[in-house]
């Protein structure tokens, strides 16, 4: 009951923020339509809907970090979290409470992206469902980044770190906007040392039904998600047991 009450509150807070909806769903959809329009006029293989949709889905998920980070940071700076820290909610209630409402939101966000892609001639196949499942570790990764950012930054700093830096870094290094092989060298190595390009490649493989190619990439995403989640939980618990909320 305690956890459910907190989960429900966090879900309402995020869904009632119009900026969350505009950035989380609206902006990726606009990009999907725009890049598809470019593809229609000047064919670019990277912008074919089968390749573009997974990239946009991962890009859309990067805004999840902004939502969760901003909510947690605002709760901290407004003393609301102080009130909750004095309540019987446990550390795991807090972490699950901030994480659980975001997972269905993330899945819904990806589903909307693929639904819109159907109208842009993405074939309606069962692999779309597989792609949605493959995106879950990426969703957890971005949720963990949000939890970490919200635990250590103010809401304004979260806006800068997650809203500007993370969305750009995850976009540029994901291989969605341009082929990483075209740049090659250190840029490509850095991109593939981070999880974003792997998340896109795993989703593309799932969508293409190329099952053998999913896991080499997905392990990277799962590994990053697990490590960042552990760091986020430690940072949040330190904040909870520390001298400043």
């Amino acid at each position: 009951m305690k956890l459910l009450a907190f989960v429900s509150r966090n879900r309402k807070e995020m869904l009632r923020d119009p900026l969350s909806l505009a950035f989380g769903i609206g902006f990726p959809l606009v990009l999907l339509l725009l890049l598809s329009a470019i593809q229609a006029n000047i064919p670019v293989s990277l912008f074919k809907i089968e390749k573009l949709a997974p990239g946009i889905a991962v890009f859309g998920l990067s805004f999840i970090s902004l939502f969760s980070g901003t909510l947690i940071a605002k709760d901290r700076t407004s003393s609301f979290l102080m009130r909750l820290f004095a309540s019987p909610l446990s550390a795991s209630d807090f972490i699950l409470g901030y994480t659980l409402p975001l997972l269905p939101m993330a899945i819904m966000q990806s589903a909307i992206c693929f639904l819109a892609s159907f109208f842009l001639k993405l074939p309606v196949t069962g692999t779309v469902l597989l792609a949605l499942v493959v995106l879950i570790p990426a969703a957890v990764l971005f949720i963990a980044i949000g939890l970490l950012a919200g635990s250590i930054f103010t809401d304004k700093q979260v806006g800068g770190v997650c809203g500007a830096l993370l969305t750009n870094v995850s976009a540029w290094l994901s291989g969605t906007w341009f082929d990483l092989s075209l740049v090659g060298g250190a840029f490509k190595r850095i991109a593939y040392a981070l999880p974003f390009a792997h998340a896109v490649d795993a989703t593309r493989a799932a969508l293409a039904g190329d099952y053998a190619s999913i896991f080499p990439h997905l392990w990277w995403v799962i590994g990053y998600a697990a490590v960042i989640m552990v760091i986020a939980v430690v940072a949040f618990k330190r904040k909870m047991n520390g001298d400043s909320v």
Binding site: K12, S79, F80, R83, D243
Partner: protein, 244 residues
């Protein structure tokens, strides 16, 4: 019977001592006011007692439970209204109240009953469907205190509860606090001396992290040979003689 027993409670931030070896007992069902100028250590004391900050040394026992070793049990029986208004901005007034009732373990039926009662007790009916962020500061403060009381705490910490309230709202809150006497142990910090005088059964005055004086308002006035409680407070808080 004492609701709170504080023994040698100390909090240090690096070299700075925010609270120095505080020893204090607070009787159950009474209202205790903790006074002091800014930086005296009042809020740090409240934070330690409400398990938000770990003491550097010492302990406090609240209704038989240690804040150090039984903090979860302590949290079940206390509630807090922080110095700054602490409400969920995108939730309505009703939803904020339901949230707190829920996280203190009430089931759906009890949550609805408690919320209805809190809305009635704090005259929140006219704004119950409004999002908290659209309320004026005074309404937010009233909601914040209603949220602190909805869990029916046995010990309630009110950190400057009437800050930003107009005279009428302040009087209403005083009346609500008066009604709690005998049932709830209230620990109140305030900068309004008349508030402490009117509401509290006992007053503790802190300065530079130490408890400088303890007693009822008339006792403190008499001890300092002061004309008013304000004179007595100034003398105690600054360590000077009271103006005769």
């Amino acid at each position: 019977m004492n609701a709170i027993e504080i023994t040698g409670l100390t909090k240090k931030y690096g070299e700075r001592t925010a609270v120095k070896s505080l020893n204090l007992s607070i009787e159950q069902g009474t209202c205790f006011a903790l006074l002091g100028v800014n930086g005296a250590g009042k809020t740090t004391t409240i934070k330690m007692l409400s398990c938000l900050t770990k003491p550097t040394s010492g302990d406090a026992v609240i209704l038989g439970k240690s804040i150090l070793s039984e903090s979860q049990a302590v949290k079940e029986v206390i509630n807090l209204s922080p110095q700054e208004t602490a409400v969920a901005p995108n939730l309505t007034v009703r939803e904020n109240l339901e949230l707190i009732a829920g996280i203190y373990g009430s089931d759906r039926t009890a949550t609805l009953e408690k919320t209805d009662r809190a809305i009635k007790d704090f005259d929140l009916a006219e704004v119950e469907r409004q999002k908290a962020k659209t309320l004026s500061g005074g309404w937010q403060r009233r909601l914040s205190i209603a949220m602190a009381l909805i869990s029916a705490p046995q010990v309630l910490f009110l950190d400057e509860p009437t800050l930003g309230l107009d005279v009428l709202a302040r009087r209403e809150l005083w009346s609500a606090i008066e009604k709690l006497k005998g049932k709830v142990t209230v620990i109140l910090t305030t900068h309004y001396l008349e508030e402490a005088e009117a509401l509290s059964d006992k007053i503790g005055i802190m300065a530079k992290g130490e408890l400088k004086a303890l007693g009822t308002a008339p006792e403190l006035i008499s001890r300092m040979g002061a004309k008013t409680f304000e004179d007595a407070f100034v003398a105690l808080a600054t360590g000077s003689e009271a103006s005769a």
